[in-house]
């Protein structure tokens, strides 16, 4: 008897391990992990960039007024460094032609910033180049997500956009769950906090959109129409997910996209 029960335990452990393994071999696992990293990479980069900008501004505070973009700013810090070396020529060489940086050299000379010790500048340069590496990694990751989404769910990916689609996929837990989902649920994925706040207290208004807010079509229309567009878009995205999960992956997204654009035009 005791032997039997040990046998049962061993086979149950074996079975459980196999089930976990199967779950981890599903096609969407890597997309879900990757998109979660993507969000964190963005916030990590922005956090580091803010710090670099603050630090570098003790040396050359004027620079932030003509280089507003975090990535370009960090490039200048890591590649050029001292404000004495920052010139119009050097900037356009590093960042391309369209740099609005007239009289940078002049500004650098008259800067209200302090001179920076060599060691500190070295640290700062290191920090900037490491942050830029994160940005590189993010770009590669995005390409990976785009490719994988295209393979896993071409219609869904086209309808929602690959990165937004991956976010929805992660939130839903998989393509199957997305395909089984009512479109009103998909519309609010990512807005759970606002939704539950609304359910708890009717005084706070219910959300009209979650992640879907980031879709170009929703972004494009004025505020009063955003809710409508989000609703139509959610409907089409769910249809696309169903086509991908249950169907033979024939292209239905192109047609639906046209229909949606038509609908957006008819608003007002």
């Amino acid at each position: 008897m005791a032997k039997d029960i040990d046998q049962l335990r061993k086979s149950l452990i074996k079975k459980a391990k196999k089930q976990v393994q199967e779950k981890y071999s599903e096609k969407d696992v890597h997309i879900i992990r990757a998109v979660s990293v993507l969000g964190d990479l963005d916030s990590a980069f922005n956090l580091l960039a803010e710090n670099v900008i603050e630090w570098y501004s003790t040396h050359f505070p004027e620079m932030h007024s003509f280089i507003r973009d975090n990535e370009s700013f960090l490039k200048v810090v890591s590649e050029i460094g001292e404000r004495e070396k920052v010139s119009e020529k050097a900037l356009s060489k590093l960042l391309g032609e369209n740099v609005k940086a007239k009289q940078v050299g002049e500004k650098a000379k008259k800067s209200m910033g302090s001179s920076i010790p060599k060691l500190a500048l070295h640290e700062l340069k290191q920090l900037a180049s490491n942050a830029l590496k994160l940005k590189e990694e993010r770009k590669k990751l995005q390409v990976f997500i785009e490719k994988q989404m295209e393979k896993l769910a071409p219609n869904f990916s086209k309808m929602a956009g690959p990165v937004l689609g991956a976010r929805l996929l992660a939130q839903a837990g998989g393509l199957k769950q997305l395909a089984m989902m009512p479109s009103s649920t998909l519309q609010l994925l990512g807005a759970e906090k606002a939704l539950f706040r609304h359910l708890k207290n009717k005084k706070s208004k219910g959300p009209k959109y979650g992640f879907i807010y980031g879709h170009p079509l929703v972004k494009m229309v004025p505020g009063k129409h955003k809710g409508k567009v989000a609703r139509s878009l959610a409907g089409k995205i769910v249809l696309a997910a169903r086509a991908d999960f249950f169907g033979k992956k024939q292209d239905i997204a192109t047609k639906m996209q046209k229909e949606l654009e038509q609908r957006v035009k008819l608003l007002d």
């Binding site: 049962l8 335990r9 079975k15 089930q19 976990v20």
Partner: protein, 220 residues
């Protein structure tokens, strides 16, 4: 050190169980030696059964040698203490669906010879009925955060519990409704049990868990 239930010890305000695998911690708890026996401290902020004992559970059906069906095993924090109590002659079947928490639970069951992992949905008892076939379940313990928690409990009780067996149900009010008054949710959920159970005691798990009660009952 006082033994308040078979296998459960109390010293001051702290609870302990006898460590089934001496020297090994499960979730970072404190290990204490007492007269050559190693005890594991039971963190009642992390275990609802621990919280219930702390809040005055009168009768603990889980005893040395019991066969327990544990629904909602999660990472096995509470299960590890149940496994301590039932000891080498007892058996704990732990059911959970999420592979994320099962990773830890499977390693736990490899360490502890009385834990049996089952990756299935507690909502579908027929799926794991076959594994339990030869084992008479003495205690059904359930801690799942599902909207139909009471139904899941009743369904499993129908499959596995005989008359006189014990059932312990943790009710999480926030899984059922976000906006209705908590007390009425508890009343409604526990009320559903009354046809097939004798409800012995209802324990609020405040302040260790918010909006939770544990119903200790006997199958009719």
């Amino acid at each position: 050190m006082k033994e308040i239930f078979p296998g459960v010890f109390e010293q001051g305000s702290k609870l302990f169980t006898k460590n089934l695998v001496p020297g090994v911690k499960v979730y970072g708890e404190r290990l204490v030696k007492e007269k050559g026996i190693e005890l594991r401290q039971w963190d009642f902020f992390r275990s609802k059964l621990g919280a219930a004992i702390k809040n005055g559970l009168r009768h603990l059906p889980i005893k040395p040698g019991s066969t327990v069906l544990y629904l909602g095993a999660a990472e096995g924090t509470t299960v590890s203490h149940v496994s301590d109590i039932v000891g080498g002659k007892g058996v704990v079947f732990g059911v959970d669906l999420s592979e994320r928490v099962m990773r830890k639970f499977i390693s736990l069951s490899e360490q502890r010879k009385n834990i049996f992992p089952i990756v299935e949905d507690a909502n579908k008892p027929w799926k794991y009925k076959a594994f339990l076939a030869e084992h008479k379940i003495g205690v059904l313990f359930q801690d799942v955060s599902q909207k139909n928690q009471a139904q899941i409990f009743l369904k499993n009780a129908e499959y596995f519990l005989k008359k006189g067996s014990a059932g312990m149900l943790v009710v999480k009010a926030k899984s059922i409704s976000q906006n209705v008054d908590v007390a009425s949710v508890f009343g409604k959920e526990v009320g559903q049990l009354e046809d097939s159970f004798h409800v012995e005691q209802i324990i609020n798990l405040k302040p260790f868990e918010k909006d939770h009660v544990l119903a200790n009952c006997i199958k009719l």
